[in-house]
Symmetry: C2
Subunit: 383 residues, 2 copies
């Protein structure tokens, strides 16, 4: 079910008191090997949090023995003092595990621009190190939650090997990763180059196509740790396939728990000249507040979809476009098509299809509607 | 006060029955000359409405004698039948005024993807032509309203000449113009090249820097008609200056009436390497739903500002940035600065200042907060 399902991993989740809610807030995931191969992708935001700056250095070596994560504070825009707090976390984990600090990835999530309470954090890390167990994945998944209403875990099985993951993220969910921390573990034997290629390919078509609210985070991290404990070396294609399935599963769990959302919307852009065109059009639609409000109101307002498509550079003839809501083609050739009345948007799942008639490529972007609850959650609380 | 303040113009506004509300919905503004110089800027959206496609042809001649505008339907994505409706409107206006159809600009606003009710529209145009008067500007301003709660008008006076304008727009308010129709009149003697340059310069720093909800419309039009009736030829600098003031005034009226908004937010980006950088950073912040929700909640959440800035390509060092809310520097050098507690966001007007420390250029983007009322208005009604 989780990161401790593959062989060779231990994990824990404890309450350090960083979150006012008193819920668990420090997690530790450890790779006991024999292999320490790892790969990671980070936010493309230029304003990177201190743990991201640190973890990029760790990943230069393409290996990691442990990942320590905290909720209750993003440790972003906290200057040298914040970087020092991250570094000290890694040192503390390393000393308790008998490894080097440079093998410890650090992730943080929470409010930007506040220093972490390092005494509490360090006490939490000590406790997390003491309570590590081969069944601790669920506790770790819980300790990284912020505004999430439920923890996110997934597993996929290969032939004699497995892959597991935990994720958090509910707001600031946007392209090039979201305020989203993901730890994926596998007991497959994978070399560093394969791990890196597989992770980039998997995230490219899963997490990177999630655009819940258009807001790109400063802390996003997806880490893959490979223990090799199964002794099995899957083919790259098989490994990438399972990893992509796992990432898709976790991404859909994030989508389904997005702040205040009442609809999960798949925007399928088909018959594009290039995959990039399809992604650009899908993303433009996913970022239209008017479109997102319309779906909340169960209104198949396709004019707002075409107005968004029209802001892109993608190849298409505006007079040729078709648009469907849940398979009802409300716009055909740039003119009113089937009746809007036929569209039923009461279910949580909504599929919008935009046919660009410009080629054979396609892509799907996943987003949510814009609701009163989203506004409430993001105006009433500092997160 | 309005488009009929300058000499040489007549206008009217009537109720044709295009709007279910039964409020006025057809406006006509006529330039009686002696000059017929005109300039216009249109939406940069590739999905342009039929009236925009028509009016672009009119403006190829750099002159216009009249502008007919309707609310109650955007006439966008309505195919050849929709274009024919636009063309017929221009023909009808032309026949009633004894001019050519190619001198008649057409503007429409309302729901995308529905055919206009042309019988009602044409009857309205007949009535509008019959009721033209030298005091009809206010009636015209009222007839172009959609979700606007009040009509928008402004005037500026030169030495012996004047300039007046009407505007509408409350939603789909975003860069490169908003669902925004603006008619500006002047009795100054202006040649076509000057009129064009002046209008582009004025809109570049006013309407184009309004980004209320990030949604670019398909129908945006700003039209400038010059009658020359004052006999005065102002210097280009003076003319551009007055025109820019007028456009700024109208843009601020649009901002102040944006759908559901409780705050008008000026995002000043200073010390940028280039003006384009300043605009890019300002626009990225203006489009952050998380930032906009925070302002609604009166929360000076500067982390969301920096997270947005980090998505741009503008030149700056993330560790050097300063951010102020209403003059309180809550972030200094990329670290927490003055206390957030000092910031008071109860007033409607909010100024955010971002110091990029990368040069000497600056720009201001105007936006609104994201509120429950915005979600309500845009989910409960098809507009």
């Amino acid at each position: 079910m989780t990161v401790t399902t593959p062989q060779g991993f231990r994990a824990s989740g404890v309450t350090a008191g960083l979150k006012a809610s008193g819920t668990p807030d420090v997690a530790l995931v450890v790779n006991d090997g024999p292999s320490d191969v790892a790969a990671a992708v980070f936010t493309t935001n230029r304003c990177k949090a201190n743990p991201v700056l640190w973890s990029e250095q760790v990943m230069a070596g393409r290996k990691a023995r442990a990942c320590v994560l905290n909720s209750g504070g993003a440790n972003c825009y906290t200057g040298p003092q914040g970087f020092q707090a991250t570094h000290a976390s890694a040192e503390l984990v390393a000393s308790r595990l008998g490894i080097g600090a440079i093998d410890v990835v650090v992730c943080s999530t929470g409010l930007i621009g506040e220093q972490l309470e390092t005494e509490k954090l360090n006490a939490g890390i000590e406790q997390a190190a003491e309570t590590l167990s081969a069944t601790g994945g669920a506790a770790a998944a819980e300790a990284i939650m912020t505004t999430d209403t439920r923890s996110k875990q997934a597993v996929r099985e290969g032939e004699g090997w497995s892959i597991g993951g935990i994720a958090k993220g509910a707001g600031m969910l946007a392209p090039a990763l979201a305020t989203m921390l993901v730890v994926v573990t596998t007991d497959a034997e994978v070399d560093a180059e394969t791990a890196d290629r597989a992770l980039r390919e998997a995230t490219r078509v899963t997490f990177d196509r999630l655009d819940s609210d258009g807001c790109m985070s400063t802390n996003d991290t997806v880490l893959l740790m490979c223990s090799g404990a199964s002794g099995v070396t899957p083919g790259e294609r098989e490994f990438t396939g399972r990893l992509t399935e796992l990432c898709h599963d976790l991404a859909q769990q994030l989508l389904g728990d997005a702040e205040g959302a009442e609809h999960d919307i798949a925007i399928e852009v088909v018959n594009a000249a290039t995959e990039d065109d399809a992604v650009e059009v899908g993303r433009a639609i996913a970022r239209s507040n008017l479109f997102k409000c319309a779906v909340f109101g169960r209104d198949p307002n396709w004019g707002r979809i075409l107005a968004s498509a029209g802001t892109t550079r993608a190849a298409f003839d505006p007079a040729a476009l078709d648009v469907a809501f849940n398979g009802v083609w409300v716009c055909r050739g740039g003119e009113p098509g089937e009746s809007r009345e036929k569209v039923d948007l009461t279910e949580r799942a909504v599929t919008v299809t935009v046919d660009l008639k410009a080629g054979t490529e396609s892509a799907t972007i996943w987003t949510n509607d814009l609701t009163h609850a989203y506004v409430h959650e993001n105006s009433a609380y500092s997160t």
